[in-house]
Amino acid sequence: MVEHKKNAAAYWKANVRLIWISLVIWALVSYGFGILLRPLLSGIPVGGTDLGFWFAQQGSILTFIALIFFYAWKMNQLDKEFGLDEE
């Protein structure tokens, strides 16, 4: 029981950590590269405009997809590792 509680707490901590990492990337590509940091990226040309524009209209969406699949894959692994997956 105590053993199990420790295990569950560690699982939750790992999940929250993974969410933090993912959300930092989520914010970086959209609010960062796509909006606030766009002036800094203006020197990097992409098809007639700059990298910031690309992130705002395409790059962020592609990153979001990658993030969700990475999270799902990693969490399903953690579920098994901690023995908390559904039978």
Partner: protein, 588 residues
């Protein structure tokens, strides 16, 4: 065959398909009615979620908004997709583990309070009803343009079709029709885009075409577009925005709002396992991205196409003669969505940005004001005609636009009816109701919801555009924070949650009313809705994110000042966090 007959065949065939699915997927129990039996494959659910989410606004309006605003309107692209990251990591898996039927179910149980449940029901109904009006009117517009019936008749036909599959099949019927509707709408959206991309850039993939070379001028497409719009006094298409705070908050509001919209959340209750809920969110975004990556390409290409049609020899040369205008301008003039007014009497169409800064240039060219007004909404619908595509593509667009509007309407109606039959009737008024009785109640509430939505569609309150902002604001400020705190904090108690939801809801609604009119009654706005009047430059449409922060702050403050939630609630929070069954997890 006439265009009308082709449109009729496409729309008729798609409707026959939806009704066929409805008959095949009848719901026999409340579990089937609310969550499609809970056995939907995650990829299938992803596709249904994409159709559920992508409304008339995504299909018809978004590309037009981006075409008009350029980079500044990228918020829609990031905001309406980024919410799925929040959904996949912060809400969907845990709510699936909780394993009940509705969003207020979770809020009511987690905050052990009928009051909290009722506040959630109220937020859900306001957000969903306001949203559904837009879908019904969108369906009406699509009908009247393509099937030459009146707006009202079109709306009635749409209501009857939704009625058939939503009332009969509930979530089960809706799920499988949404899959069919997704296929129809994505094909309809993509085909014209591919042709336009080929014509302008030679690249068959619109998202790549956006960043390729414009074949005719040999310049990059976006650079060419910037050049043309600049000559006509518009801001550069790719120009950066000054008010970045507002752009960030607007994007954030759309993201949080997306994650908090009940009709999207309940789609994740239909998959068999927690792991499936995570995958399903990813698949949903893949299917959504197919349209969202195409939309910005459609936006820039259609804008360039329109301007080169008006100025065949470049924006500094003579404009097109009105008498020589192409057929699609004639067709859309009939709807009133394109209007021409020959202000300088030269018989030519001058389209430019009529602002003081450009007046001198315009006068030098002999222009006496902008002469062509083009409604943003026609961009996608007129796309096949602008690109001279065969008439069956136009029929496809008609079916696609209707699929987008109807799939979202059905999802919203289900969210509303389950809140009424499950949360109000079973949850508060008559908890002893039998499964059969509840199923009947669900069907009746669905029917009533459709009648109300149709009535509101026939008598639109005249503020349809603003109310969508209200729907997102409410979802962002009230529902999302309550759900997230319910999962990630054991300390937030019922008093905190209710105070937080009310504070978020009221602050957002009041901020919107201050600028858009109290209860949207024209002329009652306290301040003119211009940037100079906004608090810290935050537009009323961007306030949802602030409302959410207020909700979090109030909920935590009140919770820490009052008692801890009871032990069984803390155990409930524990149990939603782990995919394995609660019984097994405590290991007794």
């Amino acid at each position: 065959m006439s265009q009308f007959a082709i449109n009729l065949i496409f729309v008729g065939a798609s409707f026959a398909l939806y009704i066929g699915i409805a008959i095949w997927a009848r719901a026999g129990s409340t579990k089937e009615f609310y969550v499609a039996g809970g056995g939907v494959n995650p990829i299938t659910n992803g596709m249904a979620t994409a159709a559920d989410w992508m409304s008339a606004a995504s299909f018809i309006s978004m590309a037009g908004l981006i075409a008009a605003g350029g980079y500044a309107n990228s918020s829609f692209l990031m905001g309406w997709t980024g919410g799925y990251v929040l959904l996949a990591m912060l809400l969907a898996p845990y709510l699936r583990k909780f394993g009940k039927f509705t969003v207020p179910d979770f809020i009511g149980d987690r905050f052990y309070s009928t009051g909290a449940r009722l506040v959630a029901v109220a937020c859900l109904i306001i957000a969903s009803v306001t949203y559904v009006i837009g879908q019904m009117t969108g369906a009406g517009v699509a009908f009247s343009r393509f099937l030459e019936v009146s707006n009202d008749t079109g709306l009635m036909i749409a209501a009857v079709v939704v009625f058939m599959y939503a009332v009969m099949g509930g979530m089960k019927g809706i799920t499988y029709t949404q899959v069919a509707q997704y296929v129809v709408l994505i094909i309809a959206y993509t085909i014209p885009a591919v042709f336009i991309s080929l014509q302008l850039t030679g690249n068959p993939l619109p998202p790549l075409g956006l960043f390729s070379t414009h074949t005719e001028s040999g310049m990059p497409l976006l650079q060419k577009l910037d050049e043309v719009v600049r000559e006509l006094g518009f801001q550069d298409y790719t120009a950066d925005v000054d008010n970045k705070l507002n752009m960030v908050l607007f994007t954030l509001s759309l993201m949080i709002g997306t994650a908090g919209l009940p009709h999207v959340i309940i789609r994740f209750f239909t998959v068999p396992k927690v792991a499936d809920a995570r995958w399903s969110a990813g698949w949903a975004l893949v299917f959504i991205a197919l349209l969202y990556l195409t939309a910005p390409a459609v936006a820039s290409m259609a804008r360039l196409n329109l301007l080169t049609t008006i100025y065949p020899d470049g924006p500094t040369a003579e404009a097109l003669h009105y008498a020589e205008r192409p057929d699609w301008i004639r067709t859309w003039e009939n709807t009133g969505l394109i209007r021409f007014d020959d202000k300088n009497g030269d018989g030519r169409i001058q389209l430019y940005n009529d602002v003081p800064a450009f007046q001198q240039t315009a006068e030098a060219r002999g222009w006496a004001g902008n002469e062509l007004t083009v409604n943003n909404d026609i961009l996608v619908l007129a796309n096949p005609e602008i690109a001279n595509l065969p008439s069956w593509v136009i029929g496809l667009i008609a079916a696609g636009g209707l699929a987008a509007a109807l799939s979202t309407a059905a999802g919203l109606l289900l969210a509303i009816s389950s809140a009424v039959s499950h949360d109000l009737i079973k949850g508060s008024i008559n908890p002893k109701i039998s499964d059969k009785g509840e199923l009947l109640a669900a069907r009746i509430s669905m029917a009533v919801a459709i009648v109300v939505a149709t009535w509101l569609g026939l008598n639109p309150p005249g503020f349809a555009a603003q109310v969508v902002a209200l729907a997102f604001g409410i979802a962002a400020a009230s529902i999302f924070p309550a759900l997230m705190m319910g999962i990630f904090s054991k300390r937030v108690n019922s008093k905190g949650a209710i105070a937080g939801m009310l504070a978020g809801l009221i602050s957002t609604v009041v901020y919107i009313f201050l600028y858009l009119g109290w209860f949207f009654i024209p002329g009652t706005a306290t301040f003119a809705n211009v940037e100079a009047n906004w608090l810290f430059g935050i537009s009323p449409l961007s306030f949802g994110a602030i409302g959410a922060m207020i909700n979090f702050a109030v909920a935590f403050t009140v919770s820490y000042l009052t008692e801890e939630p009871p032990q069984d609630i803390q155990d409930l929070v524990e149990s939603v966090r782990y995919p394995r069954g609660a019984g097994a997890a405590t290991g007794h």
